[in-house]
């Protein structure tokens, strides 16, 4: 379990207690600041032990995150953060490990590891800052950039079809998948807290604005004038309702979702969100809903329990010891067949 209840005699932690003495070097106005702040808030609220926490990142703007958290940390190499996190968890199952990555780091160069850390359920919290652009290398398109995106490396528009991070996580058997947005700090805090409390790998996609190279990428979802119509806040057990007047909903028509008006359709006919259902098809279907055809869901898509990888691995050690007894090195080196020279 990642978060144990605190004994009452411990000093109360404040978000500032998790800050390091290093200057934060993201561009002024970057969405990363908000994510860093909400993370510290959640850590303080849950009283998370700094000395037992490790932040691991790859390469990219988001991957500077570990330098700003006064915990243990590894700023590793491009795309490979899941590998270091997996090895560390295998060696130290009791540690609270968080991974910070970006759309390029996780989905392009690190696509392979991303799938495996999720399907193994390594019990690492994964924060994917999705800004739909390569920021650190100054503005090339990323695997989540929309088709036709004009960037430095695609002056005639990106020919690539984008991937959807939550869809990939669910396809990779994620036990927890969620989405939040940097500007909605209360909801972001809620989602981060849910991730922290999940037992197993928790995947969180965070829409994050890069105000230098891709400013306004999520404006549709943050602008007060439009956001009620372009986003949908998921709540477990509740019908999928959205809109400024809460007058719209999502209904299933054959195998496809459709937007309906509650003026014409009874609320009982809407899809009901169920983050706990073992069958991931509903979560997957929600992960496919994309602006402008649909409101984009925010919140927890899926939260189920899977056996954690490290438990399965450690059980094998325990079973081996139960069957063969604790290892006797002299016996091992001697083996089954020997001869003696006088």
């Amino acid at each position: 379990m990642s978060v144990a209840p605190l004994p009452s005699n411990l000093p109360v932690l404040k978000p500032g207690d998790y800050a390091t003495n290093q200057d934060v070097r993201w561009c002024p106005g970057c969405g990363d600041y908000s994510i860093l702040m909400q993370t510290k808030k959640v850590f303080a609220k849950l009283g998370i032990d700094r000395s037992k926490t490790v932040f691991i990142s790859g390469i990219g703007c988001s991957s500077r995150f570990p330098y700003y958290m006064n915990t243990y940390g590894i700023h590793s190499i491009h795309g490979r953060a899941p590998t270091f996190a997996t090895g560390l968890k295998l060696a130290r199952p009791e540690l609270n490990i968080w991974m910070v990555t970006g759309d390029g780091d996780a989905l392009s160069i690190g696509g392979n590891h991303f799938m495996h850390i999720i399907r193994r359920n390594v019990d690492v919290k994964i924060l994917l800052f999705n800004n739909k652009i390569y920021g650190l290398t100054k503005g090339q398109y990323s695997p989540t950039s929309e088709q036709g995106k004009k960037t430095k490396s695609t002056p005639m528009g990106a020919p690539d079809y984008p991937v959807r991070p939550v869809s990939i996580a669910i396809a990779a058997e994620a036990s927890f998948a969620a989405r939040a947005i940097d500007m909605d700090v209360k909801h972001l805090e809620y989602v981060l807290e849910r991730a922290a409390k999940h037992v197993g790998t928790a995947f969180v996609e965070i829409y994050q604005n890069c105000n230098i190279f891709n400013d306004g990428a999520f404006e549709y979802a943050t602008d007060k004038a439009t956001k009620s119509d372009t986003t949908l806040y998921l709540e477990h057990g509740k019908p999928l309702v959205f809109g400024k007047e809460n007058d719209k909903g999502i209904r299933l028509h054959a195998m496809n979702p459709e937007v309906v008006s509650l003026r014409e359709v009874n609320q009982d006919d809407l899809l009901i969100h169920d983050e706990k259902t073992p069958e991931p098809s509903l979560a997957f279907l929600l992960s496919r809903m994309r602006y402008p055809d649909f409101p984009e869901p925010l919140g927890v898509f899926r939260d189920v329990e899977h056996e954690r990888y490290v438990n399965l691995v450690r059980k094998q050690n325990e079973e081996a010891i139960a069957q063969k007894g604790p290892g006797d090195l002299q016996k091992l080196l001697t083996g089954n067949e020997t001869w003696t020279v006088e």
């Binding site: 490979r80 081996a320 020997t338």
Partner: protein
Amino acid sequence: MTTTFDPVQAPPAQSNGKTVITLPSVTVRFAGDSGDGMQLAGTQFTDTSALVGNDISTLPDFPAEIRAPAGTPAGVSGFQVHFSSTDIFTPGDAVDALVAMNPAALKANVKSVKDGGIVIVNEDAFGEKDLKKAGYAVNPVEDGSLKCYRVIKVPINKMTTEAAKDSGLGAKDIDRCKNMFALGLVYWLYGRPMDSTLGFIERKFGKKLPAVAQANALALKAGYHFGETAELFHEQYLVPKAKLAPGKYRKITGNEAIALGMITASKLADKQLVYCSYPITPASDILHELSAHKNFNVVTFQAEDEIAAVGAAIGASFGGALGSTGTSGPGLALKAEAIGLAVMTELPLVVIDVQRGGPSTGLPTKTEQADLFQAMYGRNGECPIPIIAPASPSDCFNAAVEAFTIATKYMTPVILLSDGYLGNGAEPWLIPDVSKLPRITITHPKESNDASGFMPYKRDESHVRPWAIPGTVGLEHRIGGLEKQDGTGNVSYDPANHEHMVRTRQAKVNGIKPAGTDILWTGPKKGQILLVGWGSTFGAIKAATLELQKEGIAVAACHLRYLNPLPARLGEILKAFDHVLVPEMNLGQLRMLLRSKYLVDAKGLNKVRGQPFTITEVVHGAKAVLSGEVEIAVKQDSTSLDVSTGGE
């Protein structure tokens, strides 16, 4: 269960009127289709020979394809065993007895047989079709082309079928026992007992597949008794036990020895071993072996790729465990960036490279030593890493323990360069007494309330930084691939600091003291010619040196176990000889290092045929240098050699 065999040479059940001849050493090769069970027959013969007290050295030689087209030369799998009553160092140059299960096996191997040597052919597999598949127009057994050998035709298929007919198995399954018939026959020929193999058959099949066990045992015994009673052999040969150093022995391959060495290091250091690997020939057996010993609290992780394997190992090391990854050349290439991170973060890590023929996919099942430069230099930036190269299969055990000792003592990745020949080859191993092995001392800094903060890059006099592990209150710190300010470990782009750090990392590696023998020496301290080698060429070079000495040549062999840093006294050593010859299974990588570091006119004896050196090849090479020849294709059987000189 430990079975201890009496070292007395088991006498043949009865010699049956045949002449018994005692030989000092013999080389046997089993050859057949890759599905014929030749590796198993060879391994069993090796085990038995070791148990009766011979010195042994083996060379398994198999194709990369699991089942190449049956009966073709591409699918031939061989296993060579050299067993002896004296110390031996190689799997043998020429073969005394060859078992050829089909024409393709005969064709691929008969050239290795000594004149007058024994060639046992399975005559049931020499039909027209079989001959055609092997590319023979006429039957070589009939046309006199093998007249310099003693060819013995045995109907192995028929005899096996007859022997196992009451086992209840179908014809196809019975046919699969013919390797046991061949093994039994060779057991008789060399007066070896069958007990060990009978025990093996019982353990492997006895409970689950009793009919299979029975059929195999019957085939083995039938082969033995066939040798005894048939009038095909007039002589039987004995190889007395070897006079090895006293003590208890077992047989071990290089890959087994590495696995056992790693577990031993973990016990000696009182640390958990976390071995992370992606399957690759010829290194996978290390993963298999370690996976079988989880009761030693070993964690094995089969990663999604080579990069994940090294990343996980580094993650485990950050957590305070013994992180390690094993691979072969192509995998080492993929791991390069992460190994650079381990150099930058100064974390302990052991990287094992069981080298194979390259470049690219190359010759996956064949041996080569062409990754030395990759190990030395195959990373971006100035990225020094200590390199240890074991000299024999059993030496892989020591090398693994030493690699962890250095990795943890100096907070550095270490590369252990083995190769396919060491990894799969076997020899006797004097089992070490665990209680006498030196402990590996590791200290982690303790909890701290120091408000001025923890200094993760504060170094000791050997430039080694502390290994502070997560979970320790007050030592929270961040490491990573960006250049670090010395002392604080904070990110720093300062030019002077970068130069200081590059030089400090180099100085740390340059100052590493070996954790075991750095040079294996044979011969006088000065003389006409010095043979300098590293890795698996040890046996051939040593044996060649002893032969050359018998001829009155002032020759010595200097075998390097530590390739980075090179032994401090090596420069002086090289100067004490008129000539320096470096035999290597590459185009001269160690030679180039020696030439550049010591300005010595080292010559190269270079072979890249996927096969280890023979003793004769090294002897010829040394003589060629002494006779002043510049470019020589040394005789022996082929163009396998090339003595290259001076410049590149």
